[in-house]
């Protein structure tokens, strides 16, 4: 102990942060078992008395979230309806710049997630970054992985930092459901392309003569899963039925989400939201989808997908949302060197995938135990759960799956069940059902919610999990940065 702690004494007080940083990796060694306890008692207002280690790994750089912001999430077709996706993304980026005051030229790379791509700005990350005034020397790319696109943007950044390629990354996501690309039919497209290539008038006329009125029927972006042709709401309804989740349970859960979101909004806990002055409109300052209703009101709604007897309704599903988020991720030593006080570490993460037909939305169930095992944690170690709420029925089905030995044995190859996340630690500031779910942007919101909750409520570990179209899922451990 003495040998190891000796150098600290000689350090100038200015580099206090570096001290804390360097002590953490050491805590793994057996002689120092007591050290972390000491550290936590000192620096965290942790209520728990149990021993917790940090998740730093030897020889791998620690990745921290300096801060993250998002535009208010709005119901699609409201204030953002005349914007383009890169406008929203730009708003998130300028908000991040403002919040963190990061010098633009320090940013090594920008990654954004998006799902329904605007054809004109297919690399929306680049368009938004240029517009937001980032250096034109900073490369940017766009990723897509359905509802976990922003998660993919973040973990891509984590990979770049951990492997030493970059030090400073901006990751984010954007979705604008108010406007989606609606295409001409394939036949019409083919005709138009052929017309382009036609050389003589005769060729053109003969092509035009092939035109039929049904060519004009437009092609809408697919709302259904490509592999199964089933819409997600339909699948969620079946999933709820498979796990015998009742309509009442779903409505109750949705009500909880809205109530908690309302409370968080009123108490000013949703600190990641940055105001956005929409051109030609008023400044938007808060999410507009939070509408706590009553169970009686909700019970009146008709099923939205499986008619007339299904259980998934408009009130217990997440709604189409416009919004963008952005996050500043750095290598820990870089953040400290720049004088930042990071909010959280991004630790182990895990992607899973399963049957897109019958287990489309069970990603969290599969990803949670895997990421916990990888990190050497248990359910009890987690202080803040932030799960993406696509549908009430989906969350409750995941709960039942995690609580079922039978499911664990037969479908997950586990001996025992995963275990249920305690509800009092679960999505305490609302979730996608109430705050909204801009597909490409939700991932960053989840991580920021976990980080902010850990700071506010106290606690060391947060677990973020989400399901996504294609039967995929994601989970990540967020570790609070010592205060």
């Amino acid at each position: 102990m003495t040998i190891l702690t000796y150098p600290f004494k000689n350090l100038p007080t200015a580099s206090k942060w570096a001290l804390r940083f360097s002590i953490r990796p050491l805590s793994c060694s057996s002689q120092l078992r007591a050290a972390p306890v000491f550290v936590f008692k000192l620096y965290l207002k942790a209520v728990q008395t149990k021993t917790k280690k940090t998740l730093a790994k030897p020889n791998i750089r620690n990745v921290v979230v300096v801060d993250g912001v998002r535009t208010p999430f709005l119901l699609s077709g409201t204030s953002y309806k005349d914007l383009m996706p890169h406008d929203l993304a730009r708003a998130a980026l300028t908000g991040l710049l403002h919040r963190t005051s990061v010098p633009k030229e320090v940013v090594d790379y920008i990654i954004f997630g998006t799902v329904i791509q605007e054809v004109k700005t297919s690399n929306v990350a680049r368009e938004a970054a240029l517009g937001a005034g980032f250096s034109d020397k900073t490369p940017a790319h766009t990723v897509t992985m359905a509802c976990i696109s922003a998660n993919q943007a973040m973990t891509t950044g984590v990979g770049l930092i951990a492997s030493g390629q970059c030090d400073v990354i901006v990751a984010g996501g954007v979705e604008l459901m108010s406007d989606v690309p609606i295409r001409h039919s394939r036949k019409m497209r083919k005709l138009m392309l052929d017309l382009n290539k036609a050389k003589s008038m005769g060729q053109r006329l003969s092509l035009i003569s092939k035109f039929r009125f049904n060519f004009l029927a437009p092609e809408l972006p697919a709302v259904s899963e490509f592999s199964t042709s089933e819409t997600m709401g339909h699948s969620a309804d079946r999933l709820a039925a498979a796990f015998a989740v009742s309509r009442l349970e779903q409505d109750e859960y949705a009500l909880r989400s809205h109530s908690l979101a309302k409370k968080a909004q009123d108490e000013g806990l949703l600190s990641d939201v940055v105001p956005f002055k929409v051109p030609g409109k008023d400044t938007v300052t808060k999410d507009n989808g939070i509408r706590p209703s009553s169970l009686e009101q909700m019970a009146k709604l008709k099923p939205a997908f499986i008619k007339p007897y299904g259980t998934v309704t408009a009130a217990n599903s997440s709604f189409l949302t416009d919004g963008a988020s952005a996050m500043l991720i750095m290598a820990e030593e870089k953040a400290l060197a720049m004088g930042y006080k990071p909010k959280a570490y991004l630790r182990d993460f895990m992607y899973v995938s399963q049957d897109p037909k019958d287990q489309l939305l069970l990603g969290p169930t599969y990803a949670t135990p895997k990421v916990l095992e990888k990190a050497g944690l248990t359910m009890n170690d987690i202080d803040a759960f932030e799960f993406h709420e696509a549908f009430s029925g989906q969350i409750l089905a995941n709960f039942k799956a995690m609580d079922s030995d039978w499911f664990a044995e037969n479908y997950m190859g586990r001996k025992t069940k995963v275990g249920l996340p305690p509800l009092e630690k679960f999505n305490n500031w609302g979730g996608s059902l109430s705050l909204g779910h801009p597909f490409g942007a939700t991932g960053c919101r989840l991580v920021m919610a976990a980080a902010n909750r850990l700071r506010k409520e106290g606690g060391q570990y947060g677990l973020v999990a989400a399901c996504a179209a294609g039967g995929q899922g994601h989970a990540m451990i967020v570790e609070a940065y010592p205060k």
């Binding site: 039925a241 498979a242 796990f243 019958d358 799956a401």
Partner: protein, 717 residues
């Protein structure tokens, strides 16, 4: 290969559907009180009722000996079902799986029907395929429910209707999507969920919150209105009757009776309709046709089992040599069952064509909405096309479908044996080459077996498996298991020239040539054979098989069997081949074939060939009926001889092989059933009459003669 090519056309024949409908469910006639009981107990349970409409199949009417008994059973069933219909408490039918025949009749007597939208869930009235009619009120209720045209279509074709289609037709009121895994096995939970949904609907019905009446579309309303006009109805009956007569050629009595019963119900009221239904049901069940068709049904069930038991090692990796019509066909029916399949050919062009054939076969299913384009792609990825033997070291079975040439087959066998693992089975798809001759060059003859597929492989259900004396039991078990996986109906026969199917066809073909030589017009011959019940005319059959193939087989088998396979002069075929008249594939044979032209014209160039080989007809054996019987008796005689020689193990397999593989008239039930029903004595008499005119080719075989001598002897006891 002879037979393979011939039969493509057969599947168009509607009566063949019998063989396609799986999981056949009939009413439980033998214990009608047993049916009554569960219904009553359920009634006492509450306002909702639910039963899974999969009543166990009984050897349906085996117990009934007389017409009265059968009629009585039908009436009893009608009464039970009526009880359901008249119930004051709402009854909801919850349907999961096959709801066919009696099951459907129970379902349509309920106030409401809810079905799972599963591929397994099908509804239908397949009675017609057994030569009977829906005898528990189905003929009366169905027209009221879905309209006369749709009801007649269902009852006359016996087709199985998928749940989503049934919903559109108004046959079911609600659909329930099958569920995935939850807290219980998916199937179990799906049924539970179906029940839950059914209960909510029954409650809704009881509280009058849900109306059992369905909103009809405009077209439906118009049809319904049109059917109220007597003149229109008469026209509909007339049209349908005409069509049925044309298709059945008067060989199948059931369809006409079904129309009759439906007509009676509509024109004279339901009481008359129910009475008529039960009577006609009784009459039909007692017909020979019905017995023949039921026999086929039972035979088919038998041929869907693996009598060798489970193989030691499941075949998971399959390799097919030769990407021709057969090879690609075999690949198609394998990949869609999840077998990893290698398709190998020697040239890229041949391989391309074969892969395209598989893709097209799958894509056609997408067009018919039987598959999604995504499923097609994932199925297609099970297929690997290649020109070399890479990956053969993992193959569990190799099926060769190369050209019918012994030395070529020997070569590939040796090549393949050099690369395959020890447990791998080598199967040869040949229609006439004896398997033991192919196996002669094998290092491990116990692993060599014959698998004779019929073309087009994806449509023809039969697979003839040929075992040699050296073939091991486990090899046979594996081959049968693969065939069953591919959805085939399987007969297992012993090795010998022409095995069973080709051997039966050959003498009949020889007779075809003689009849043509005697100056019978090919068109006339075709109409004679089809009116006897063959789905394809005899002259057309030669064209379909390919004249060159027919010539090969005639020469090969002629050499082995000698005079018995004589009759027509093979010179006719030789001359046709030399002129390039190879049948459909070359555009000319007895007929002229043109792309996109349906009408077939006689090939006038054949006149000179036929004239040069003309034989004087023998008037005493040249009546229309005699011509038909000359063809059929030679076929039957050869089939019986195959049983006598032990090529065939059972008469049931012989019947299935003849009907499914060669298009033997289904209404006759196959050669053995035909002997039983028509009478062995009468057939022997016919044979003797023709023997007197033509000699040895018609000599009845010993077994047939035995049957004729002792009238109690039957192939089916």
């Amino acid at each position: 290969m002879v037979a393979c090519r011939a039969i493509g056309i057969l599947s168009r024949f509607s009566a063949f559907r019998i063989l396609r409908s799986r999981g056949y469910i009939c009413r439980n006639f033998t214990g009608s009180s047993a049916l009554l009981k569960p219904i009553l107990t359920m009634e006492s349970k509450g306002m909702w009722q639910l039963f899974e409409l999969t009543l166990p199949i009984q050897s349906m009417l085996a117990a009934c000996k007389t017409l009265q008994e059968v009629t009585q059973l039908s009436q009893e069933a009608q009464r039970i079902v009526e009880k359901l219909e008249k119930s004051t408490k709402p009854i909801v039918a919850a349907i999961n799986g096959s709801c066919l025949g009696g099951g459907l009749e129970v379902a349509i007597s309920c106030q409401y029907r809810i079905a799972t939208k599963d591929r397994k869930t099908v509804l239908g009235t397949p009675e017609v395929l057994l030569g009977a009619l829906p005898g528990a009120g189905g003929t009366q209720r169905l027209p009221k429910m879905v309209g006369v045209p749709a009801a007649l279509d269902m009852m006359l074709t016996g087709r199985s209707i998928r749940a989503d289609r049934a919903k559109k037709m108004g046959l079911v009121d609600q659909l329930v999507e099958p569920l995935g895994p939850g807290l219980k096995p998916p199937e179990e939970r799906t049924i539970e969920y179906l029940e839950e949904v059914a209960i909510t609907f029954a409650k809704g019905l009881a509280d009058k919150k849900i109306s059992p009446k369905r909103d009809k579309g405009l077209v439906e309303k118009l049809t319904a209105y049109a059917m109220t006009i007597p003149f229109v109805r008469q026209q509909v009956y007339k049209k349908v009757e005409e069509k049925v007569r044309k298709q059945t050629k008067g060989l199948y009595p059931a369809p006409l009776k079904i129309i009759d019963v439906v007509k009676t119900g509509i024109e004279q009221g339901s009481d008359a309709g129910y009475l008529c239904e039960s009577q006609k049901f009784g009459e039909l069940v007692m017909t020979k046709e019905s017995k023949a068709l039921m026999g086929l049904y039972h035979g088919q069930v038998l041929c869907k089992k693996n009598k060798f038991g489970a193989p030691q090692k499941d075949v998971k990796h399959l390799a097919i040599l030769g990407a021709g019509l057969m090879g690609a066909g075999i690949a198609q029916v394998s990949v869609d069952k999840g077998l990893k399949t290698i398709l190998k050919d020697a040239t890229l062009t041949a391989l391309d064509r074969g892969q395209q054939q598989v893709f097209k076969g799958l894509n056609d299913k997408v067009k018919k909405k039987a598959l999604t384009s995504f499923e097609r792609d994932s199925i297609f990825s099970n297929l690997t096309g290649q020109l070399d033997y890479q990956g053969f070291e993992k193959a569990d079975m190799v099926i060769e479908a190369v050209f019918e040439d012994l030395s070529l087959k020997h070569r590939v066998l040796k090549e393949v044996e050099a690369v395959i693992p020890d447990h791998c089975i080598f199967a040869s798809n040949t229609s006439a080459l004896p398997i033991s001759e192919i196996a002669a060059v094998s290092k491990r003859p116990e692993k060599v077996i014959g698998m004779h597929y019929f073309s087009p492989v994806d449509k023809m259900q039969l697979l003839e498996i040929i075992t040699t004396e050296k073939t091991s039991k486990d090899t046979s078990a594996s081959a049968v298991a693969v065939g069953l996986k591919q959805g085939k109906v399987i007969i297992v026969v012993k090795d010998g020239p022409g095995f069973y199917t080709t051997r039966c066809l050959a003498p009949m073909m020889s007779e075809v040539i003689r009849i043509l030589q005697e100056g019978v017009d090919p068109k006339k011959l075709d109409s004679l054979t089809t009116s006897f019940g063959f789905p394809v005319g005899a002259a057309t059959l030669v064209d379909e098989v390919g004249v060159d193939v027919a010539k090969h087989v005639a020469e090969d088998l002629g050499k082995v069997f000698g005079e018995r396979f004589g009759g027509g002069n093979p010179e006719l075929l030789t001359q046709m081949v030399s002129k390039g008249f190879l049948g459909r594939k070359s555009g000319k044979g007895f007929y002229i074939y043109q792309e996109g032209v349906k009408r077939k014209d006689l090939n006038s160039d054949m006149d000179s060939i036929l004239a040069s080989l003309k034989l004087p007809p023998k008037s005493e054996v040249s009546s229309d009926e005699d011509i038909q019987f000359r063809l059929v008796t030679r076929f039957v005689n050869e089939a019986v001889m195959c049983l006598q020689e032990g090529i065939l193990a059972t008469p049931a397999e012989g019947d299935i092989g003849a009907v499914f593989g060669l298009g033997f008239p289904p209404c006759l039930g196959g050669p053995f059933r035909f002997v039983d029903l028509y009478g062995a004595q009468k057939i022997v008499d016919r044979l003797k009459k023709y023997e007197a005119a033509y000699g040895k080719q018609f000599t009845p075989c010993q077994l047939l003669a035995d049957h004729a001598n002792s009238p109690n002897k039957k192939f089916y006891q």
